[in-house]
Amino acid sequence: MEQIALTINDRQLSASSGMTILEVAKENSIDIPALCYRQELSPIGACRICVVEVERSETLVGSCHTPIAQGMVIHTHSKKVLQVRKTMVELLLASHCGNCFMCDKANICELRSIATDLEVGLPRFQVKKRYYPVEDASPFIVRDLTKCILCRRCVSACNEIKKEKVFGIAYRGFDSKVVVDFDQPIDKDVCRDCDVCISFCPTGALSKHGEIGEEKKGEPLIISG
């Protein structure tokens, strides 16, 4: 396999061709946050949190889906990158319900964790919030789309890992929504007890029915900065 020489954050690195920027960074213990990317899934490219600066590129590029190239010079945590990530997380929080105190997954919520790392405070943007009724008819899964950030991991995970097609994306633009069938509440008929999508959901949008406090067993949220 051809070796590619590149620079990330002033470190000269070498990696196999075909790898993405994010994979190379990870291999070298450089942490790039991402809300839609997961190693087990094909890149989705939707959340844009993993964007990085590549010298001579006009825009930032999504590190999860951009393959490395010979001589690339990459900055994963430049001021420009951090500012954009911060704005985007703030945008996500602006339309998110933000009921972290009431959320079972608050302690293991990736959105909250990244927001904390980037020191995003209360969103300054005023935008309508997406409110949907909680779907708890299924014995296996509880869906609260009010907390969904449209990362599409659940769609991909169901598709690629379980080879099922329970979820789809419907509507357009700001109204986009992860739907089941004709935008119906998820129930016992369409979904079995596999939990795959739940483990991929970065927020509290997908969870299990559980005892109070059960979901909080994740690693406690470390507030840095």
């Binding site: 094909s42 889906h65 097609k165 419907a170 357009r172 069938d181 004709f182």
Partner: protein, 148 residues
């Protein structure tokens, strides 16, 4: 190893007929019923949610019954500069409904739409697939009368 060049292209080529078939159903029945979407999902080997996702993405598809004639008035900037607002109000008055609604007799549905590509002859609207240009309030009632 990443899957950038892999799985995303392993796909169902039958699906290319979906837009065409949804369009045919839309024309035939005036909207896309659940029955139609289930049939399409089965014959094209797709999930219902994927068919529904496509049906709700495009603005010329409708998942609710529409009137026999669909009026689409352009609300984009070039038409706005030529007083499309007056045309919108005239249509509202003539058929007694607001954008997004259907007349009780099922004759008209009325929507506002984005640029329809006749900006040199603004204001403009479409009824079904027919385009009407250089509109004035006086022209509206005549045009509407021609539709049954």
């Amino acid at each position: 190893m990443n899957k950038i060049n892999g799985e995303i292209y392993m796909q169902n080529k039958e699906q290319k007929e979906l837009l065409v078939r949804l369009g045919e159903a839309q024309n035939k029945f005036g909207y896309l019923s659940e029955k139609v979407m289930i049939e399409l999902a089965e014959s094209l080997d797709m999930s219902i949610s994927d068919v529904y996702g496509v049906a709700t993405f495009y603005s010329f598809f409708s998942i609710r019954p529409q009137g026999r004639n669909i009026i689409r008035i352009c609300k984009s900037v070039p038409c706005f500069l030529k007083n499309s607002q007056v045309i919108i109000e005239t249509v509202e008055k003539e058929i007694g409904i607001k954008p997004g609604e259907t007349t009780p007799n099922g004759k008209f549905s009325f929507h506002l739409t984005n640029c329809i590509g006749v900006c040199d002859k603004a204001p403009a609207m479409m009824i079904n697939s027919e385009v009407y240009i250089d509109l004035t309030p006086n022209k509206i009632s005549q045009i509407l009368k021609a539709h049954k």
